[in-house]
């Protein structure tokens, strides 16, 4: 059984004075399996937050089904083992950080001793131990995000949904959130997070779904997407002159060091043979893979070369 399932979900939302409806989600279908970290990716305005709100029962889909642990998203019992961090979390300004986490613990009907222990642990985990007694109105954006992370984990959830968890965080904060996600993954917790920061997704996710203009345009494993997608190799050799490597265009020289860029694996083999036979020394061969960002931009631009990683730059 999938932990999260969207099936052909569509949703329109009203806008403007006359409340005309804009189709935000056209057709969203995806599944998140137990124990995986799923990256829900897409540019701003693609419908990520709307999809997550449909999942949590905050919005009613116009069509399609959403399920959490096999139950409808709007069933409160489905949310017992779920943790959620909203996008740009807003919390009650009159509460202190500790009171907030405790309040959310009460909404899970946690006994007071469990609540107290979990609150202490989580406040420590998110690095807010010395700020937990301050009212939330004095919190910075980053502190709000941290306390939001703490409240999302108060019930020791099996599924954690994080809407843009890295937004507003400094590099240290981002590192810490990444560590928390990796720690959750190690403990077998399913994580679904939305992001437009692709480097984070690349480092954390098992699978990604790419949402664009209300539709899932690609869904696959991160490894699968990036595997074997070497765009080119930067190859460097010493003790030769450019003329001694015929058929290859030398990009730069530095003394007797030559720099090449090779886009085909067979060409690379041949280049190594030529260099060796000419008495040169291969100093470095470094592959440049497609990043998730290339894939992302390629897909939304409909650029097959970037999206499929089939770009070529043949030898000169």
């Amino acid at each position: 059984m999938s932990v999260v399932r969207f099936e052909h979900v569509a949703k329109s939302l009203p806008y403007g004075f006359w409340l005309r409806r804009k189709q935000v989600l056209l057709d969203v279908s995806l599944t998140v399996e137990r124990g995986e970290v799923y990256g829900f990716l897409g540019p701003n305005g693609s419908g990520k937050t709307t999809s997550l709100k449909c999942l949590l029962g905050l919005l009613r889909p116009d069509a399609g089904t959403v399920e959490i642990f096999g139950r409808p998203g709007n069933d409160p019992d489905a949310r017992r083992k779920l943790g959620y961090l909203p996008e740009h979390p807003y919390f009650y300004p009159h509460l202190t950080g500790r009171e907030l986490v405790d309040y959310f613990g009460r909404l899970f009907d946690l006994p007071s001793d469990v609540r107290r222990r979990r609150t202490d642990e989580l406040i420590e985990l998110v690095g807010m131990a010395d700020k937990a007694a301050q009212p939330i109105k004095q919190y910075s954006k980053g502190m709000m995000q941290r306390i939001g992370m703490a409240q999302a984990l108060i019930n020791d959830p099996d599924l954690v949904i994080l809407d843009e968890p890295m937004s507003g965080l400094d590099p240290i904060g981002r590192r810490e959130v990444k560590d928390i996600i990796l720690d959750l993954k190690a403990r077998g917790t399913t994580v679904l997070f939305s992001s437009h920061i692709l480097a984070d997704a690349e480092a954390l996710c098992d699978r990604v779904g790419l949402l664009f203009e209300g539709k899932i345009v690609r869904e696959s494993g991160v490894d699968e997407l990036l595997e074997g997608r070497v765009q080119y190799w930067d190859a460097t050799c010493d003790d030769l002159q450019a003329e001694q490597v015929p058929g290859y265009r030398c990009r730069a020289t530095q003394g007797d060091r030559l720099y090449f860029r090779i886009t085909d694996a067979d060409d690379l083999d041949r280049w190594i043979d030529i260099v060796r036979q000419a008495g040169g020394r291969v100093v470095q061969v470094s592959p440049h893979r497609h990043t998730l960002e290339d894939f992302f931009i390629g897909t939304i631009r409909g650029d097959r070369r970037l999206a499929d990683g089939t770009g070529s730059e043949g030898p000169a």
């Binding site: 905050l58 009613r60 409160p76 899970f108």
Partner: protein, 256 residues
């Protein structure tokens, strides 16, 4: 379930009492009650009536103002400030959220009305020389009236802006004090259809005069126990009805 409602209620209470506006309302009520003693010096022979009447009036007025002022923003503020997302992503259903909010404001009103009542009763006790037991029923019924006003405010707050909710709630409050007229109109209305319509209107709108026993207690007339119990039953039933409608509307609402 009860634990969740209690959590939302205590949180709503905490939020209300940490708001300075509440303290301001209570201080104004105290000031108005105290001013009634000064005013009573201008009248000869009916000082006690003035203090009793104005004090009870102040209690009802400020209680109503607090119920409307806080009630109309209760749900809207949570949606507007987006604090509701994290709450409803927990295993909390929408009716539990509304009932929790309602109970929280009723708890706040119980404390505030209690404080005002203590001050008021002490004032009358000091003026009359004996503890005015008969006024307790009037205070209790005022609180029941506030329970209906709060439920109406939450109903409007669940689907419209605070400004419109305020206008609608004040309108219901004013009309609610006039609906007793509809009850007598039913008997003289021409035609069965009109009678049916008028009686439907009477039952749909709250009859807030049920809770107004001021003129009776001021003149020392007793308020029967059965009357008080009936009024409490009416207050609870009407509030439950309003909260049910609020839940039906709120359940369908998209929280964008």
């Amino acid at each position: 379930m009860i634990g969740r409602i209690a959590a939302i209620a205590t949180h709503t209470f905490k939020e209300a009492v940490r708001d300075r506006i509440l303290v301001l309302f209570v201080l104004f009520a105290f000031a108005m009650m105290a001013a009634s003693t000064v005013l009573s010096w201008l009248t000869v022979g009916s000082e006690l009536k003035i203090v009793t009447d104005l004090g009870l009036g102040a209690l009802a007025l400020f209680g109503t103002m607090i119920a409307i002022f806080i009630g109309i923003t209760l749900v809207h503020k949570e949606v507007e400030k987006k604090t509701i997302y994290a709450v409803l992503a927990k295993p909390v259903s929408r009716w539990q959220f509304l009932v929790g909010k309602y109970c929280g404001l009723m708890l706040t009103l119980a404390i505030v009305t209690g404080l005002m009542a203590v001050f008021y009763l002490a004032l009358v006790w000091w003026k009359a020389g004996e503890f005015p037991v008969h006024l307790l029923a009037a205070v209790l019924l005022t609180y029941m009236e506030l329970s209906i006003i709060t439920a109406v405010a939450i109903l409007f707050s669940s689907f419209t802006t605070p400004m419109l909710a305020a206008v609608f709630t004040v309108a219901v409050y004013v009309v609610g004090h006039l609906t007793w007229g509809l009850a007598s109109f039913v008997e003289v209305a021409p035609g069965a259809a009109t009678q049916y319509l008028v009686s439907m209107l009477y039952y749909a709108l709250p009859d807030l005069e049920t809770f107004n026993v001021r003129s009776r207690v001021v003149h020392g007339l007793p308020v029967g126990r059965d009357y008080v119990l009936d009024a409490i039953g009416y207050g609870l039933a009407y509030s439950a009805g309003m909260l049910t409608i609020a839940t039906i509307l709120f359940r369908r609402r998209d929280l964008t």
